[in-house]
Amino acid sequence: MRSFFKTRYEQDLSIARHGGDYVWYGLLIVVLLAIPSLIGEFYVKEMAGLFIFSIAGVGLMLLIGYTGLISLGHAAFLGIGAYTNAVLLAQGVPFLITLPAAGLVTAFAGVVIGIPTLRMTGLYLAIATLAFGGILANVFAKWEHVTGGFDGFPVKTPDIFGMKIAGADGIYFLSLAVLVFVMWLAANVLRSPLGRAMVAIRDSEISAQSMGINLARYKTIAFAISAGITGLAGALFGHYVRHLAPDAFEILLSIQLVTIVFVGGLGSLHGAVFGAIFVALLPQFIAIMRDTLPFGIGNTPGLEPATFGLILVLCILFAPHGMYGGWLKIKAYFTAFPLYRRTGFRRQKSYAKSERLR
């Protein structure tokens, strides 16, 4: 592994590891800005969907990958963000207010679910958030005079200072901007005391607590940030689909979001984007493959959830570090070339770590 020797404090404080980072990420942004004029409208829209999944993935990554709290109810936060944004827009509130409002309302919802679940970890938290997601999915469907129930809720086209954000290009640039903002926010959170506290909680609650970290406070903040970012993704998702239906925010979506985090690689912001690329493109890939699969497998309606399930299972069994872990391995192979050791990434053996109170 290459290591960077830091000779000045500014290097330690800087958001980029070294000058090369500015060049590469700058280049990436230039390419992304140029893309809509290069490819067709359909693909631009798909890319926008990918960005929205990435935003939600970053939100969930902060919670699962960095704080070690699992949530199986993030579809509910996506839904809260989407409905808040859409309902406020329908009331005539300008978009520049509704988008942050969606994030704030969802962050507040995150606090509401975060505080009572503070005492839970691992399993209980997963079950509690699953139940929360189930309740919220019902609320979206039944609270008809606000959400429109199963008739759906049309989302108004947003405008910023009189400029309509319509069509594939509009949603593309909007979600790209939000993604860049969210990435910047997450990277800054992670190198602040808050982020370090989150990582400490993930690695060991007991040692974090004994170092003076207030578990309840930081867990609540982590929940709020994660939910807020997911709420922003939800608001954009509303504009992406343009017509909200409550059945979009059920458990399958929560599972897809968690799949982003797991497939991308726990504990890396790059992983959230890699996972989102995967999850956003998989349905298209399946749609293309449907006609060519043998034995009529392609006509099974359950093919998509089953593929998600299968990939999740294979990923946990054989690639627990996800796609970003794989990328690191490839990089390590070439930087260390002829000296690469296979054992360098071997998982530390952990024997049944009991979470049972005894």
């Binding site: 839970m120 770590k353 109170l357």
Partner: protein
């Protein structure tokens, strides 16, 4: 009188549904006590068991009782293989890896069942379908009564198995302390696989009992989520707790459906689950002690 009969009707319907939740929750608890894994695919295993019974009884014309027993046997074998092939590999990994693994398996099972048996709801002609039982003035559906009786019988069998047989006691030992059990010569890994088999078998039994009430379809595994409420209410780790919790959740759900606005029946179990976790996380039959650092 009208009201009393109505309430009794609700209680019996609720208890019948609750017995199913209790049986699924029993499966969770058995596996959790032994391996500290939580099987989010338990409801889907119940669905597979019910479909196997459907294949045997409705398609091949096997007698109902024999077909049920064979279906339980096949599903139990499936549970055993599931542990040997997949779940044994993730012992010792973080708990949410197991959660995600079983969730993934649940989706695979659902699609596999849809592929093999189709997505339309089916039913089995059982001895209890569309019959009634009369207790004095009160008329009850035979299907609901059969669920309650079947649950009691299953639990009695399990109780005798765990307290009277050598294998059952070995399972209890392995659940309480793996290392000590291993030193006593108990083959802990095989025991764990057998526990998976038992819990899959119980789930299959629940599936067969459920089919005169709601039929069999691919989405019946959703009940697994309601069974979580039962397990948590019972203290997650207590077998009688799972059953009592199941019945309580089932009855509460019926009352919520009758007295509260529409939609509350669907969320009742989730609300119970969250309320229990927030207010009373140890559950009814608390088992936990303090954590050692």
């Amino acid at each position: 009188m009208e009201d009393a009969a109505r309430i009794l009707q609700l209680v019996v319907n609720g208890a019948a549904a609750g017995c199913i939740y209790g049986l699924i929750a029993l499966g969770f608890v058995l596996i959790y006590k032994a391996t500290e894994m939580v099987n989010f695919a338990q409801g889907e295993i119940m669905m597979l068991g019910a479909f196997v019974a459907f294949g045997l009884i409705a398609k091949w014309g096997v007698n109902y009782w024999i077909g049920t027993l064979v279906a339980i046997g096949i599903t139990a074998t499936f549970g055993y293989c599931l542990d040997v092939v997949i779940l044994r590999r993730v012992i010792g990994q973080p708990q949410f890896a197991v959660v995600m693994l079983t969730l993934g398996l649940a989706f695979i099972f659902r699609a596999a069942a849809g592929f093999i048996w189709g997505y339309d709801p089916v039913g089995i002609e059982t001895p209890f379908t569309n019959r009634t039982v009369r207790f004095g003035d009160i008329v009850l559906g035979a299907d609901n009564v059969s669920i309650i009786v079947g649950t009691v019988v299953l639990c009695a069998v399990l109780y005798v198995f765990f307290s009277r047989t050598k294998l059952g006691v070995a399972m209890q030992a392995a659940s309480q302390n793996q290392l000590a059990a291993y030193y006593m010569g108990i083959p802990v890994r095989t025991i764990f696989s057998l526990i998976w088999a038992i819990s899959a078998g119980v789930a299959a039994g629940a599936g067969v009992l459920l089919c005169p009430v709601s039929g069999i379809d691919v989405n019946m595994g959703i009940l697994g989520i309601k069974a979580f409420a039962a397990a948590v209410l019972g203290g997650f780790g207590s077998i009688p707790g799972a059953l009592v919790g199941g019945v309580l959740v089932g009855v509460l759900e019926q009352f919520a459906g009758y007295y509260l606005p529409p939609g509350s029946q669907d969320v009742a179990s989730n609300v119970v689950l969250l309320a229990t976790l927030i207010l009373w996380p140890a559950g009814l039959f608390a088992q936990s002690q303090r954590k050692r650092v």
